[in-house]
Amino acid sequence: MKKFLKDPRIIILFVLALIIILLLIASLFTKKPSTPSQKIIIPSPTLPASLKPTPSTSSPQMEELKNLFEEKNPIDPPQIDNKIAL
């Protein structure tokens, strides 16, 4: 057991696990939107270079498309009464 605990790989593993737990806790407390790194992209008829067709990947794509079509819009805003206290 002592040998097992002295194994450098085990130590690395524990340190990694600790970092992950700290990152998780940090991510739960920060909800800020991520900073932008690129400008708005409006769909254009020309295909972007990053979307060059790759062979035999149609099935996962169709699955992803199905999920996109099934995605629901956010719920409607609440009815706000603006006559309160007036």
């Binding site: 708005i40 992209i41 409006i42 067709p53 990947t57 079509f69 805003p77 706000i80």
Partner: protein, 278 residues
């Protein structure tokens, strides 16, 4: 003294059998590494899904409380108008404080939910989405400030001033809300459009003998979506400049639905021609 290699109990040691089994610790290490790898891969998505659900549930809870309290407020207001006694006045002050705080909180949780929803496809229109999320955060801060002022107020006159202040800001909050609802759908449709284009190209590449009429039809539909989308963006810009997005939202939503219909048609066309499996 027996050497360690001569010792029994480390696994097979009879004639014809191999060496010792790997240590239990080594197996444990491999399992742990595999677990960590899976953890790294799936945790971010899981956290986002849990977070979105929590934010929505939080809003729905506050919304239900607000609706319930509003009825109570209206009843107490009526009673005070009828009797106008010291006790009815006290009751009215108490419930006014509660309902104003709940109204601000309901709106605040809704803004938080919208901000979270926008994150799901923000990579498509990053700058526009980020700007909206920043605006939503600013309004959240305004409402937090309102809640704090409401809790420190004890007279109906001050409540009236706070409510008047809210009414001057509310049209702008509404503008941000409707813009966020539209942006969410624009992001989703842009992503769908990109994926449809990619899928069409893949099918074309994998099926050289494909009927060119089919390709033309898909290309026409894709081009139609782009032109309709441009018209929609122009309408949004016009409504935004006139600050009447909340009024024109139903017509913009209809345009968004029509655009989704075009994308849906392309998807159905793609489903008809499945690529040949190798």
């Amino acid at each position: 003294m027996a050497k360690l290699v001569d010792a029994h109990g480390l696994g097979p040691c009879d004639f014809g059998l191999g060496g010792s089994n790997p240590l239990r610790g080594t197996n444990l290490l491999h399992f742990s590494m595999l677990f960590l790898l899976l953890f790294f891969l799936f945790t971010p998505k899981l956290i986002q899904a849990i977070n979105t659900d929590q934010v929505l549930n939080d809003h729905l809870y506050q919304r239900a409380l607000y609706t319930k309290k509003l009825t109570e407020y209206q009843q107490k207001l009526q009673i005070d108008q009828q009797f106008s006694s010291v006790s009815t006045q006290e009751d009215l002050i108490k419930i006014t404080q509660e309902i104003l705080a709940l109204r601000a909180l309901t709106l605040k949780t809704y803004l938080s939910y919208l901000k979270d929803s926008l994150s799901s496809h923000q990579d498509i229109n990053l700058q526009a989405t980020f700007d909206l999320q920043t605006k939503l955060s600013d309004w959240e801060n305004y409402l937090t400030d309102q809640i704090s002022k409401i809790s420190n107020t004890t007279s109906l006159k001050d409540f009236k001033n706070l409510s008047l202040d809210f009414n001057t800001q509310y049209p702008q909050i509404q503008q941000t809300i409707y813009l966020s609802l539209i942006q969410f759908q624009l992001n989703l449709q842009s992503k769908t459009y990109q994926l449809l284009t990619q899928t069409k190209n893949d099918i074309q590449q994998n099926n050289p003998s494909l009927n060119p009429l089919w390709t033309d039809k898909i290309n026409q539909d894709l081009a139609s979506f782009v032109s309709q989308n441009q018209l929609l963006l122009d309408s949004i810009q016009k409504s935004q400049n006139l600050s009447r997005l909340s009024r024109s939202y139903p017509s913009l939503q209809k345009q968004l639905d029509d655009n989704k219909q075009i994308l849906s048609q392309i998807y159905l066309e793609l489903l008809k021609i499945k690529p040949k499996k190798p």
